[in-house]
Subunit: 178 residues, 2 copies
């Protein structure tokens, strides 16, 4: 049976969310995997408040994650120097379930390099992590310790093809370890 | 035996990290809990590269989480409109282990209210979640579905006492449910 991959990332917030999800799924299929994308869920949200809708989507995403054998997360910085928080949560969830964590980022710089700081402290007096990692050590640690891999692929976040190129590299890397 | 609480948040990056950690632990003790703070770990990082140091801290934090009965996360926005990514990861990790997720934020505004947007789309053409939640729906969903609680307490992120006041409210709320 084909292995299933949870496709995590702020991709769901893009104008071309459905298209990029389908394109990633096609790439999965070509490599013999099944890609599960959060927007695959056809949820009936009629009559729910905004808050209840959020909870319904949460439940659906949790179910998709439970079905998955591993995750490929888009860790490209999102609204700040770090990655999307929802995706970080999902990496944590699947780490506890002992699934391998794979990821890519279109920003190959280390986290500390993205933040203006003086002797390791930012303008708000907060220390800047400098472990030569792409993001917070919990995220990069999870990838490393799970036996997964993080692909750094210089690209433009707004360019869908750059995401697909990086994603393809991750898939190749997974295929090579199977 | 006393229940243990993992004290998660970007508190570890503050200049007063050790003090705020100890103060939160004292508040835990006063309520009959044991607070575990990431900086409690006395790790020997001698001879390790920066990257290896990050991994060693990762391992230690994972061990602390495994020992914990639940988590109190500081979800106050960190370097952008959303919360600290490492803390989001930890909330996901403990959610998968079926531990209750408690949290506080010093910014009571909904996530969408913190981002400049036009008809729900930000200046980078990314959709802004508007589920009347304090942060990404995965985080708030996890709190709600785990039976935990999120305390919104208006305060100044740089003011340590504001954090402690919010934290105390969470502890009271946990004590009331025991």
């Amino acid at each position: 049976m084909s292995q299933t991959i949870y496709l995590a990332g702020p991709d769901v917030f893009r104008r071309d969310a459905i298209e990029i999800g389908k394109a990633k799924q096609t790439l999965c299929t070509e490599q013999g995997f099944i890609g599960l994308f959060p927007l695959d869920n056809t949820l009936n949200l009629d009559g729910l408040t905004a808050y209840q809708q959020g909870l319904a989507i949460y439940d659906a995403n949790i179910e998709l994650m439970k079905e998955s054998d591993f995750i490929i997360a888009n860790m490209t910085p999102f609204r700040g120097p770090g990655m999307d928080q929802g995706t970080a949560f999902e990496m944590g969830y699947l780490t506890a379930l002992k699934k391998p964590i794979y990821a890519y980022t279109l920003n190959p710089e280390h986290y500390a390099g993205r933040i203006s700081h003086k002797n390791g402290w930012d303008s708000n007096g907060l220390q800047v992590e400098s472990f030569e990692m792409a993001d917070n050590l919990m995220l990069v640690g999870a990838i490393e310790k799970s036996g997964g891999q993080l692909i750094s692929h210089l690209g433009d976040d707004s360019n869908t093809q750059d995401h697909l190129d990086a994603f393809s590299k991750v898939l190749e890397c997974i295929s090579n370890t199977q």
